[in-house]
């Protein structure tokens, strides 16, 4: 059961016009696995994670979620899973939070469950309050996003993604836009989520954090997976010179 493959990519490519960003990615992610994507800017790690919920549509290759092929349309047809259903089951947290400024914290969290899952208001709000307690912001349920710190906004954004009860969570550089002193509170929430057994893929520049929580670290370079393995393999005993040079910048 633990070996169940949740996400499977076979030869995935992504072009932006003439620019080839992903040049053939093969990747299987198992249930409960925590995968950290690292790499220099322009290596394609953000594009890759954004393909995992079809925020970007891949140019080529195959993408399977829970064994079912992902359709290119919002609604799936036949055996294929539609983009809409994929996104319901794969949560995403963004670098810039993207909270809805016209809605308070509780409404931000309940919007997905109410509009997409058609949950009754009471039920959605009850679960939202549980999640807010989990991220340590139960007292902020009435606040508007503009009244929150960056760290608080990001914790609300995590709760908003969790409200859909996703099978997988994607974290796209979720601490990169935060003041250094606010990074810790967000990482703590991400860590507790990893501990709870959530399948997670994260793009991060926090190498120590990646080493700490990831089961597997993937080094992306120039649109390819160039190294992949345990944090020990990749971060402590890097094989390629490029990875060594990349890591050296974080160790001083």
């Amino acid at each position: 059961m633990n070996e169940e493959i949740v996400i499977s990519l076979k030869g995935m490519t992504k072009d932006f016009g003439a620019l080839k960003v992903l040049k053939g990615i093969d990747l299987d992610i198992k249930k409960g696995e925590v995968v950290a994507l690292i790499g220099p800017s322009g290596s394609g790690k953000s594009t890759l994670i954004r393909c995992l919920n079809m925020m970007e549509s891949p140019t080529g290759g195959d993408f399977y979620f829970m064994g079912s092929k992902i359709a290119s349309t919002f609604k799936g047809k036949g055996d294929e899973t539609g983009i809409g259903e994929l996104r319901r089951r794969v949560g995403m947290v963004f670098q810039h939070f993207n909270l809805f400024p016209h809605r308070n914290v509780l409404e931000n969290i309940c919007m997905g469950p109410k509009t997409v899952l058609k949950q009754p208001k009471v039920e959605a709000e009850k679960y939202a309050m549980e999640l807010l307690a989990k991220v340590g912001l139960a007292d902020k349920h009435n606040a508007f996003p503009s009244h929150l710190s960056g760290g608080q906004k990001q914790r609300v954004a995590i709760a908003r993604a969790l409200a859909m009860r996703p099978d997988v969570m994607l974290f796209d550089e979720v601490t990169s836009a935060l003041d250094p002193e606010l990074v810790g509170e967000v990482l703590q929430v991400v860590r507790s989520l990893a501990d709870s057994g959530m399948t997670m893929i994260l793009v991060t520049h926090e190498m120590a954090f990646a080493a700490d929580i990831a089961d597997r670290v993937i080094f992306l370079e120039d649109g390819f997976i160039s190294e992949s393995g345990t944090p020990e393999d990749v971060l402590v005993h890097p094989k390629s010179e490029r990875l060594q040079a990349f890591l050296a910048r974080y160790h001083n």
Binding site: E85, R88, G112, S146
Partner: protein
């Protein structure tokens, strides 16, 4: 020294009031229809289909780059020659005013929608919302705030633009003033009353717009 004589003109107050009512009716009617045309134009301009974008663009530029008075005269006097049947001055007037303001509304709506950060759309998409749900629940509520000042401004201009319908004898305020003046030979009093009536109709509207804008800004 000019002898003001409002008394004579005031005898025709019922004509002024009926003109004001007609002005009000054309304003509301053309704004309502204009919103429909504007929304169609805005969404067509934002569409991924080239033909829709081209059609909307052509409509907007045609109406924005020709004078409204020419459009009104053309719709009433020239268009029937092409169609082979007459169009009443009411229909020609209402449709022209609506299409005209719709062209401007389209730009206002499009600008408001474009002003919303792409991350908002992505956040909605990330929880599985459809494009329609994103538009209704996330983009529009925020975009309307951004559109409102320009929308009210254009609507104020629209109230005044209804006066051009006098050229095709629609019995709105300016036309009725023309009628009263013809009966009383008191242009100073007649047109002063008309101006005051337009002012009284619009001044509360601009004040309300300012108030509303301040409210909106506070809630940001």
């Amino acid at each position: 020294m000019y002898q003001w004589d409002f008394y004579t003109v005031m005898q025709s107050m019922d004509l002024f009031l009926s003109g004001l009512t007609v002005t009000f009716t054309y304003t509301i009617g053309s704004i309502a229809l204009g919103v429909v045309f504007g929304l169609l134009a805005a969404f067509a301009r934002l569409s991924r289909f080239f033909v829709l974008r081209l059609l909307a663009r052509s409509y907007q530029e045609l109406f924005r780059c020709t004078p409204l008075l020419v459009q009104i005269l053309w719709a009433f006097y020239a268009l029937p020659l092409l169609l082979g049947f007459t169009i009443s001055n009411k229909i020609a007037g209402l449709m022209t005013l609506s299409l005209y303001v719709g062209a401007f509304y389209g730009e206002i709506f499009r600008g408001g929608i474009n002003a919303i950060d792409k991350g908002q759309t992505e956040a909605g998409a990330a929880v599985g919302m459809s494009n329609g749900q994103i538009m209704r629940n996330i983009i529009m509520p925020q975009a309307i705030k951004k559109m409102l000042p320009a929308f009210i401004n254009q609507s104020v201009i629209q109230v005044k633009n209804t006066s051009l319908l006098y050229a095709i004898s629609v019995a709105e305020l300016t036309y009725m003033t023309y009628v009263v003046n013809g009966e009383t030979y008191r242009p100073l009093e007649s047109y002063t009353i008309a101006a005051i009536m337009y002012f009284m109709l619009l001044f509360p509207l601009t004040q309300f717009a300012d108030l509303f804008e301040r409210r909106m800004r506070r809630s940001d």
